[in-house]
């Protein structure tokens, strides 16, 4: 039973992490909208360079 409490806890923590990541992505993206005028190909190249 203690393990099922733990499972619920870890599920909650995971949801917080995923929500946190989504919030982070949204905040990062929202601020840059006004200057987001890049061409798609350009962006692809840049991502490839980054990774």
């Amino acid at each position: 039973m203690r393990y099922s409490i733990m499972l619920q806890l870890v599920t909650t923590i995971s949801v917080i992490f995923v929500a946190g990541a989504a919030l982070f992505a949204w905040i990062q993206n929202r601020q840059i909208e006004p200057i987001q005028e890049m061409g798609i190909n350009h962006e692809f190249d840049r991502n490839l360079l980054i990774y």
Binding site: R2, F17, F24, Q28, I32, I35, F44, N47, Y51
Partner: protein
């Protein structure tokens, strides 16, 4: 307030979880201090964030498993290892989703999987992910894959170091966000902490153990295929422990080889000149205990564990439920209580295979004279003239013996996993408060 934080298990848990969340989310929080980088899109940022969270979770696994006493003392090693297992799976999933989002969002990035042509930072990520996959598979299915514990433990360490080391190399290599000063400071700190924990576990701790050797005093046969191993500290005071705690035992070999086994201390806390362990022969290591010669060198890492009556000074009494070798920590508790002239009632429900197999049967009888101790033996194979309990420790049996005022006692269960689960559920159904039930799991892995 301080008292609440120190003693209330829910407050302690909340505080620890808060710290955990904060540490893991700190790489993202720090980034919010900087102006956002332009035009990367939601999915790319989301993927990077998941990668950072997964990596931070993996780094923290080193802290969870380093047997740090302050962490361990809050909940006990079994609960922490269970948390370690669950969160490792979550971290693994986040780390897997991280590139998948990239590939879906931008299929050209699939080229990064071409190991021979990809930049080294991408190769590091591929190898780290492979190591992590092997780590997870071998941990979940160790028994099904018939991997013995000791080689598994060595490989578990190698996979973990590879996954986290190369994960950090990947993060620094990509360098996109890590070129930001505070961000790189934070990740460097994460890396250094992981490295320190590794050095601490592999070198510092074993070295400390070599400074506190023990000698085997004697090995005494007990009922039920169990041997009592008596250790005497050599050139030091020995360890002080709370009754019911356990220690990791290294026998004959150097502690640097990291081949240690956990055993509950079975002797009284009041008798520090010698420590006793009751060891049941079940496998490689334990079946050789009977042949250990007096004078053999031993090392201990401990004490650990929260399975102890010493934390419940105010309890009106105790209910102990043992199955087989699960009697050892309980033996320490009742022996200690007898030595301390504890006048509270102790009820011991003790399941064994047969009358002949009851480990410490005679010792327990002697303790009845020194302590308010009631013993209910439950036998699976009872002799024909047996008047006592037989079968399994189930709800009906428990209901017959435990006090009506359930919350007036603390309950300690140590047995094989199946029995522990059954007893825990039965106690719950009998309205025993959840925070009054304490368990020691012998199957950590």
């Amino acid at each position: 307030m301080r008292n609440l934080l120190m003693q209330n298990p829910i407050a302690i848990a909340t505080a620890w979880i808060g710290v955990y969340l904060l540490i893991i989310l700190s790489p993202l929080l720090i980034l919010l201090l900087y102006p956002a980088s332009p035009g990367r899109g939601f999915w790319l940022e989301f993927s990077v964030a998941l990668g950072f969270i997964g990596l931070a979770m993996m780094v923290l696994q080193f802290a969870l498993t380093a047997r740090i006493r302050t962490i361990e003392a809050a909940y006990g090693i079994d609960i922490i290892l269970q948390f370690h297992r669950y969160t490792s799976i979550v971290a693994f999933l986040l780390i897997l989703v991280h590139p998948v989002i990239l590939f879906v969002n931008d299929p050209e990035t699939l080229q990064l999987l071409n190991f021979f042509e990809a930049p080294w930072r991408a190769r590091a990520a591929v190898v780290a992910t492979l190591a992590l996959t092997l780590l997870i598979v071998t941990a979940i299915w160790r028994e099904k894959l018939h991997i013995p514990y000791e080689p598994w433990r060595i490989w578990h360490g190698i996979f973990a170091v590879t996954a986290v080391g190369l994960g950090l190399v990947h993060a620094f290599g990509v360098g996109n966000y890590l070129s930001l000063f505070w961000k790189s400071v934070l990740w460097a700190l994460f890396g250094l902490v992981a490295l320190w924990l590794l050095v601490f576990v592999r070198l510092v701790k074993p070295w400390q153990m070599t400074q506190h050797p023990y000698l085997v005093e004697e090995v005494v046969p007990e009922r039920g295929n169990v041997w009592t191993l008596v250790l005497r500290p050599r050139g030091h005071e020995g360890l002080t422990f709370q009754s019911g705690q356990f220690a990791w035992l290294t026998l004959r070999i150097s502690p640097f080889r990291m081949r240690e086994h956990p055993f509950s201390i079975a002797s009284s806390t009041e008798k520090l000149d010698c420590l006793e362990f009751g060891i049941k022969s079940v496998g490689d290591f334990t079946s050789r205990i009977k042949d250990v010669e007096p004078g053999t060198v031993a090392y201990l890492d401990g004490p650990y564990g929260v399975f102890t009556i010493d934390r419940y000074w105010d309890s009106a009494g105790f209910v102990m439920i043992a199955g087989g070798i699960g009697i050892t920590p309980i033996m320490s508790m009742v022996r200690t209580a007898a030595d301390r002239k504890d006048d509270r009632p102790f009820l011991l429900i003790y399941a064994s295979r047969s009358w002949e197999d009851i480990t410490y049967r005679e010792d327990l009888e002697v303790l009845k004279d020194k302590l308010d101790l009631t013993i209910v033996h439950v036998l699976r194979k009872a002799p024909d003239d047996w008047q006592g309990e037989t079968g399994y420790v189930d709800q009906d049996l428990l209901e017959r013996y435990i006090p009506i005022h359930r919350g007036s006692r603390h309950y300690f269960i140590c047995a094989v996993p199946k029995m522990m689960d059954q007893v825990e559920r039965a106690l719950h159904d009998l309205n025993v408060p959840v925070d009054h039930v304490h368990m020691e799991h012998y199957n950590l892995v």
